[in-house]
Amino acid sequence: MPNIEHLIGALPSAAAQGLIWGIMAIGVYITYRVLDVADLTVDGTLCTGGATFIMMMLAGYNTWFCLLAAFIAGMLAGLATGLFHTFMGIPAILASILTQLGLYSVNLKIMGKANQAINVDRFPLLVSLRYIKDVPFYRNTILVVFLFIVAIIGILYWFFGTELGCSMRATGCNQQMARAQGINTKVCIVLGLMVSNGLVGLSGALLAQYQGFADVQMGRGAIVIGLAAVIIGEALLGKICQNFAYKLATVAAGSIIYYIVLQVVIWLKVDTDLLKLLTALLVAVFLAIPYWKQQYFNRVGGKKGGK
C-alpha cells in the first residue's frame, strides 16, 4: 500500500488545480448546458489564454491587464466559432473543431514556439504551485482561485438574470420560442460562446501561472475534463438545489473532485499513460446514463401502454 501521507500532501495542489480547471468547466457549462452547444473550441482556447497571458507578462504588462487580455483572447476564439456557426451555417460542433485547429497555429504564433516559461520569482504572478504551502494565507493559490470563482459565479448569476442573459437561456432551451419572442438567437449563441471561451481563456492564464509555463498542448482534452466536471458535479450534488449560482458552484466542485480522484489514481500507482483513457471512459458512461434511463423508462412505459 502506498504511503497515505504522500496522498494527503498532494491534496492541496490537486484542489488548486481543480479550482483553476473549475473556471474552465464553468465555461463549458455555459455552452453545454445553458446554450445546448457542444463547443470543442475550448481545447484551443485554454492555451490561447495561457499563451496571451505569459507573452504579455514577459513584455512587462500589469498582471491584471494580462488576465483581461487572456479573457478577451478567449472571447475572440468564441467569436470565431460563433461566426462559423451562425454566419456561415456550419454545425456548431464542426465550427468549434475548425476554430480549435486554427488556434493551434495562432497559439504557436503568439508564443513563437511550442512552449514559453515564466519565472515566478521575477514576475508578480497571482497563483503558482509554489504558493500552496509556506506563504501567508492571502497569497495562497487555493484562496486566490477560490475568490476568482466566487466573483465569476456572482457575475454570471447576475448576468443570466438580465434581459440579455434570459434571452440566451431561452435560446439554449428553445430557439423557435426565442425567435417568436423577438430574440436574435444568432447573436445570443455568439455571445454565449464568447463568454464561455473568455472564461476558458482566463482559466488558461491562471493555469499557465500555476505551472509556470504555457504549452501548445496544454488544452488537449480540456473539453472532456470540463464535461467530466459538469457531470460529476451534477451526479453528486445536482439534486440538492436548482439555483443557478449553486449549479455553477457544483461544476467547480465537480472539477475539484475530478482532480482529487485523479490524485488518488496516481497515488495508487496506476499507469499515468492511461489517465486520459480512464477519463474518456468515465465521461462516456456518465453521458450514457440519461440515455439508458430514458430507454428503460420507455420500455417500462411501453409495456404499460400495451395492456
Binding site: G161, T162, L164, N174, I183
Partner: protein, 264 residues
Amino acid sequence: MLELKNVHKTFNAGTVNEKKALNGLNLVLEDGDFVTVIGGNGAGKSTMLNAVAGVWPVDQGQILIDGQDVTKLSEHKRAAWLGRVFQDPMTGTAATMGIDENMALALRRGAHRGLRVGIKKEERENYRQLLKRLDLGLEDRISSKVGLLSGGQRQAVTLLMATLKKPKLLLLDEHTAALDPKTAHKVLTLSDEIVRENNLTTLMITHNMKDAIRYGNRLIMMWEGRIIYDVRGEEKSKLKVSDLLAKFEQVSGDEFANDRMMLS
C-alpha cells in the same frame, strides 16, 4: 393590417420532393378581423402563417404588416408585430425556465434587451393576476418550470404570452389540436375572449369546421397553396358544415368527406 400579395413558396425546389406549398397567395386582413382558416392536410395553412412570421424567406411576393413591408425582415424582427401559438404545446415556451420568466420574455418582445434585470418584482404580481384568470391554479406556482406543466397549461400560458404585449396580429396554428377535448374547449374559449377584448387581428387555423364557423367574423378555405373561399359577416355566421364540404368538393373535385382533417 396584413397584406399578402402573390406569395409563392416551394419547398425542396428541383428535387423529387418538390412541393409548391404557397401558390400565388393573396390575402388582405382589415383591422380587427378574426379569421378562421380551414383546408385539408397539406393545403398550406401552416406555411401561410410561417410566411407571415418569417420562418424562412418566401420565393416571390410581398408581405405587409400594418402597412410596413416585412418581406425581407428576419423572424425575430417580425416578432415585434406578432403573437404566435403553435400546434405543439412544447414549441411556444422555454421548458427549463419559470412561468414568470417565460412571460417576462414575452413582455419584452420587440424591445431592446440589455443588462436591465430580466424580470421585475412588480411584473410578477401582474403575471399572477393574468394567470388567475386561466383558472388552472398556475397563479400559486408562477416560478415553476414550464416543463412541469401539462400540454393544456402550456398552451394557455403561450396564449397569454402571445397577447401580453398586444400584437398587431395574432397567429394561432391549430393551437388546440394536441389537447384533450375539454382542455381544447377551454383554451379556445379563452382565445376567443382575449381576441375580442383586445380587438386583435387574428388568423386562427383549425381543423374543426364547427369551430371555424362559430368563432371569428371571417372564414377562409385554402387548397393547394391558395385561398379558394373567403366569407365574412352574416354570410359566414349562417354557414353550415355541409356548405363548407360542398364548397370544397366543388373546387377540388375530390371525395372531400374522406378528408379526416376536415371532419370532427
